[in-house]
């Protein structure tokens, strides 16, 4: 039998029992659609988290005071106190490392901000001009901090979008004098709203020069030093060089912790990647169930068409021809089901993206390929047994059942 004839024969046979064919195609398509939608969800979650981390800044290396035995973020990092703190001079020294592009020292405290009788608590971040570039903070109005000597605390402030909104409402903010703590500072800029993120919510922050913040909080230490490496490849170098410089400055004592954003990101990436794999695995079970259903349908087809199989044998069909015809039918059921399920799954992912626009619910390629090929493979695999049964039928017995 020619391949085209085998396919046509299988197609006609499948269409001969429309309901049964439709049901098994439906089962297969639900399985594939489940894989596509669930992995789109899982991978969407991963992309969302990764995206949030990336918004902290690209090629980021963070220096924390204190030696932490374990890497990555942990609550201890925030409260460790060490004999030797990070200083503005440390940050300036790190800037000389060849792999480092920009450095942003960061001192943080809380204070209150007042304008025209309105008062609220704010987080005050003391830093420099480069910090805005490192964090990718954009200005809605005015300018960021002046790019001048870090030790010179000009009396200027950059407001977060929400802080401006609450203090000024519709009135212009640029150029106005506000009171932060016990100081009067001129507003030079307002940041664009970034919305809620995983990092510090910059909408509710005011940013002042680092020396000014230290003076306000009566300290000379830094909370963090943010370092931007020259490129992604330079991140390990930047980390090593920063560590080396700080170690020398701290008399050979390694009393700081340097973490890379990559390490944090990789952890989340792995975690959510595993989650995606897990939901894909669960969805794959429905594929296997669909495969078994295809087998069941094909077994019923063999039983129902026993007389026809006997006839085909009498007309000179070899066992191979009959096997191929039934296999082709099983493959067709699963292929159509898989294709339909793929479209259904993509539609589902599209609907998800419409409902949750922040959530990049795109099914990953590997999941689509794995889902489709699992569907085809199970369909074929579970088609083999019925096909072999059909091919092995005794023609005399088969012919009597008509």
């Amino acid at each position: 039998m020619r391949p085209a004839d085998t396919l046509r024969f299988a197609r006609d046979a499948a269409l001969g029992t429309p309901l049964r064919t439709a049901l098994s195609v439906l089962a297969m398509s639900i399985g594939v659609a489940a894989v596509v939608v669930l992995t789109a969800l899982g991978d969407g979650a991963r992309m969302y988290v990764v995206g949030q981390f990336s918004s902290l800044g690209a090629n980021l290396v963070i220096v924390l005071p204190g030696r932490s035995g374990t890497g990555g973020f942990n609550p201890a990092n925030a409260i460790t106190s060490t004999p030797r703190d990070l200083t503005i001079d440390d940050a300036a020294a790190v800037r000389r490392a060849p792999a480092v592009k920009r450095v942003g020292p960061l001192a943080v405290g809380t204070s209150e901000i007042a304008f025209g009788g309105r008062l609220r608590e704010v987080i005050v971040a003391g830093t420099n001009h480069d910090y805005f570039g490192i964090r990718g903070l954009e200005m809605a109005q005015g300018t960021s901090l002046p790019d001048d000597d870090w030790n010179r605390g000009s009396p200027v402030v950059v407001l977060g979008a929400k802080v401006r909104e609450e203090l000024f409402g519709a009135a212009p903010a640029i150029g106005q004098l506000v009171r932060v703590g016990d100081r009067r500072l001129r507003v030079v800029g307002v940041m664009k709203s970034t919305g809620q993120g995983l990092g510090m919510n910059t909408d509710e922050v005011v940013i002042v020069p680092v020396a000014l913040a230290q003076a306000m909080f009566n300290t000379n230490t830094l909370f963090r030093i943010l370092i931007e490496a020259k490129s992604r490849e330079a991140i390990p170098d930047a980390k090593a060089q920063a560590l080396e410089i700080l170690k020398q400055r701290h008399r050979g004592e390694e009393d700081v912790t340097v973490i890379t954003q990559d390490a944090v990101l990789a952890t989340f990436d792995r975690l959510l990647g595993a989650l995606t794999m897990a939901v894909a695995g669960i969805a794959a079970i429905s594929l296997a169930v669909a495969g078994i259903l295809v087998m069941n349908v094909m077994l019923v087809a063999v039983t129902q068409r026993t007389g026809e199989i006997g006839l085909l044998k009498a007309l000179g069909a070899s066992a191979r021809t009959i096997r191929l015809a039934f296999l082709a039918e099983a493959a067709m059921l699963s292929a159509v089901g898989a294709l339909l399920g793929y479209l259904l799954g993509q539609a589902g992912a599209f609907a998800l993206r419409q409902v949750f626009p922040v959530f990049p619910a795109y099914p990953p390629d590997w999941a689509v390929i794995a889902g489709l090929s699992t569907a085809l493979a199970t369909g074929l695999l579970f088609g083999v047994m019925p096909a072999r049964r059909a091919a092995r039928l005794d023609p005399v017995q088969a012919l009597m059942k008509h």
Binding site: L311, L315, S318
Partner: protein, 232 residues
Amino acid sequence: MALIELAGIERRFLLGDTTVNALAGVDLRIDAGEYVAVMGPSGSGKSTLLNLLGLLDRPNAGSYRLEGRDVTTLTPDEQARVRSARIGFVFQSFHLVPRLTAAENIALPMTLAGIAAAERARRVATALQSFGLANRADHKPDQLSGGQRQRVAIARATIMQPALILADEPTGNLDRHTGDEVVHLLEALNASGVTLVVVTHDPTLGARARRQLVMEDGRLQHDSGRAPHAAG
């Protein structure tokens, strides 16, 4: 020239714990171009004999030579090829594939044999014409009368131009008139040189054949055509 030579054919079936001898020591020779009717009561072994002649069944003992070639030792696929090229079947219940049209049913043996579509179409058109089915080509079997169905079945049996046609009660499901039509069709084929073996209960149909075989309890009781070959 001998088309079929059976020697010492035995066929036993196990029914529960008793062995039934469906065929016992059958020796038979049928020459090319003969018209043979096989008769006998139910269970006499005539259908088993027909299945055996059609290579649908294998004997437990004995030899079957078709056109001088021992076919009992062939593999199932080799037997399928012999069926495809040399043997046509006509069944009592027609055995048409219900989802295929008359033309597709007639073409089925050629499709299975892998003959190209153009050649198939040409031969089917000729067959439809000569069997008076030209305006029924696109009808499904359930849209055809019994006589038309059997004509489609006969057209299918002859489309590969076999040497041997085996008909099992070809008129069993037809009324007298259409039955006669079908018999005339088969006899016309026989007249053109095809060997025809008909299994039937019907004495009048059996009497039309030039040679009658009567079977009982798996043995050839009577052969009108020739003196039995070394019977027993």
